[in-house]
């Protein structure tokens, strides 16, 4: 089976992020970057499927500027067969989905895997938009995925409010991944060294038949701010019973969040 994985490099989830004066933009220079959390699970799923279905191949793909190289080398170090960098610095989710759809169509994958959300825009837009423009079905935020051999279909499990759902789709299909039971693998040193020597082809939007007008950002950010800074209004001390009574009084009468 032919699998494609879409990857994005984003600020590490543990990094502290500050804002430029006036809130114009987040200050990302020097911030530690990492492959987006859920994309790692997509990559792990692809590698697991290839191991289960000998003869399968994996294409890794990343849309953006030079940062994509790191994502793709990570994927190559873990053993994906091909990597493709789509050069479009600053592309937003909608533009990235358009570009990825154009790049994936000729590759004719059976299954495209990606993360459920990118850990920078937290938008949940890319997988559904990609599937729409490929005119394929998609399944979002799955924590397990099985392929029925010879059936050209996937069977996934996903969580939703109050329970879990089994959902099936026929190939070709886009599946976005949630955190599953299999933790993402870590590349070996040998794999990492080898990945630096592997070819990393790149394509431009023009080569994919898309013009700048097709890739206009959907929204214009005007202001960034950290969420309201909380200074503990009160640290409650004293015997537990008194502290508990004081806390409940504050929640009822000062905050009005309890009846």
């Amino acid at each position: 089976m032919k699998i494609a994985v879409c990857l994005k490099l984003v600020p590490a989830t543990t990094a502290d992020i500050r804002v430029a004066p006036g809130g114009r933009e987040p200050l990302l220079a020097g911030v530690e970057m990492a492959v987006s959390f859920y994309d790692e699970y997509a990559l792990a799923t692809a590698l697991r499927l290839r191991a289960a279905f000998p003869g399968s191949i994996i294409h890794a793909l990343s849309v953006g500027g030079g940062e994509c190289v790191r994502c793709l080398q990570h994927a190559l170090a873990l053993g994906v067969d091909h990597a493709l960098h789509i050069q479009s610095p600053g592309a937003d989710a909608r533009a990235a989905a358009r570009l990825a759809a154009a790049a994936l169509r000729p590759l004719t994958p059976d299954l495209v895997l990606c993360g459920r959300q990118a850990m920078d825009d937290d938008l949940w837009f890319f997988p559904g938009a990609l599937a729409e423009w490929l005119d394929w079905p998609h399944i979002s935020a799955v924590f397990s995925l099985d392929v029925a051999p010879g059936k050209s279909a996937v069977r996934c499990r996903r969580r939703f409010e109050g329970g879990e759902q089994t959902i099936e789709a026929v190939w070709p299909v886009v599946v976005s991944c949630d955190r599953g039971p299999h933790e993402p693998p870590i590349p070996t040193l040998k794999g990492r060294l080898a990945s630096r020597k592997m070819p990393l082809p790149a394509m431009t939007p023009a080569e994919l038949g898309l013009a700048a007008a097709d890739l206009e950002p959907a929204m214009a950010p005007t202001h960034y701010a950290p969420p309201t800074q909380r200074t503990p209004k009160k640290m409650l001390a004293g015997a537990p019973a008194e502290a508990a009574a004081e806390l409940l009084r504050l929640l009822r009468h000062e905050e009005g969040v309890l009846e």
């Binding site: 837009f125 079905p137 979002s140 960034y224 701010a225 950290p226 969420p227 537990p240 502290a243």
Partner: protein, 326 residues
């Protein structure tokens, strides 16, 4: 810049969910700007019942599509929403930020040639654009962004983020039944089985009070204490990833980066250190209380009220105090 607003109205048991009224309040405010109208689309087998009384909430037309939830076919939902949005010439489509919205909202936006804004905590219109405010970078920043088209804006609203107020101007509230003709093409993906977690308490994502336990709870048995405090408060119990990974609580209770994002009025964190990953899932809560025996725990930096102490002493004291009052 707005125009007509279409609300995909969340409902259960023949009634709109509480979040539905947040969506309707926002919709009425948006539709006022250039004189647009609000319509609602309800999907599901009790849709018509839940659509009964929406005129008072400013709804002109309430479309009710009776598809069952058991054979959830996301592409049918996408088609229904996109077709209704076209019929209504909707400039804005509002959904509650739940797992169905996460499944289909992006696809609806792509089909209609518009844009998606997820988990909005603010949404307003002026004469030239729509402005959304939403968390990005796992809640580390809030961004405000303008949308000027082309196409409609599909926005999912984070529950408990907007005040609820019935509009001054009611709508006709006309019920429009929709018959869904299933298309072969839309059945390429279908949910075949639902396993509901039996639980009488509100969904974490919609809960107004949450009591959450972390690694400090120590075992699955002692997690009962978290549930007891939740019961005493009429709250929903939650858990950190550390507690879920250790097997103290099921994944359905997990709050944070790889779990649910919650936005209650009151969040009580018990024995939770406050990792960035956990904060990502709860930091928009209106009032945060932290109970932890480590005075250096990061959670205290994000709490409105902190209580340094052993949760096995503090939580029973809280339960006792709550029982004493009632």
């Amino acid at each position: 810049m707005t125009g007509n607003v279409l609300v995909i109205l969340p409902h259960v048991g023949g009634k709109p969910k509480r979040t539905a009224f947040e969506l309707l309040t926002v919709a009425s405010a948006l539709a006022q700007v250039p004189g647009g109208r609000v319509s609602a689309l309800l999907i599901g087998h009790s849709a018509a019942r839940a659509a009964g009384n929406l005129g008072a909430w400013g709804v002109e037309r309430a479309y009710a599509a009776a598809v069952g939830p058991d054979g959830y076919a996301p592409l049918s939902w996408v088609r229904l929403i996109a077709d209704t949005a076209r019929t209504e010439n909707a400039a804005v489509i509002l959904l509650s930020a739940d797992s169905i919205a996460r499944d289909i909202a992006g696809r609806v936006a792509a089909r209609l040639g518009g844009a998606l804004a997820s988990d909005c905590v603010g949404l307003r219109a002026n004469s030239s654009c729509l402005t959304v405010t939403r968390p990005v970078l796992s809640g580390r920043l809030l961004v405000s962004a303008d949308f000027k088209g082309p196409g409609p804006l599909v926005a999912t609203l984070r529950p408990n983020s907007f005040a609820v107020e019935a509009p001054a101007r009611p709508g006709a509230g006309a019920l429009v039944p929709l018959t869904v003709k299933e298309q072969e093409k839309d059945l390429r993906v279908i949910a075949t089985e639902l396993a509901n977690a039996a639980s009488g308490c509100p969904e974490l994502t919609e809960a107004t009070i949450i009591v959450s336990g972390g690694r400090g709870v120590g075992s699955a048995e002692s997690f009962r204490l978290i549930r007891q405090l939740a019961d005493a408060l009429g709250a929903s119990p939650g858990a950190s990833r550390a507690a879920v990974d250790a097997g103290y609580a099921p994944h359905s209770m997990q709050i944070g980066q790889s779990g649910k994002t919650v936005n209650p009025a009151l969040y009580i964190a018990c024995g939770i250190s406050g990792s960035m990953q956990h904060l990502a899932g709860m930091r928009t809560s209106k009032c945060i209380v932290a109970i932890n025996k480590d005075p250096q725990a990061q959670i205290f930096r994000f709490a409105d009220y902190g209580l340094v102490g052993d949760l096995f002493v503090v939580v029973p004291a809280l339960i006792a105090e709550l029982k004493r009052k009632t």
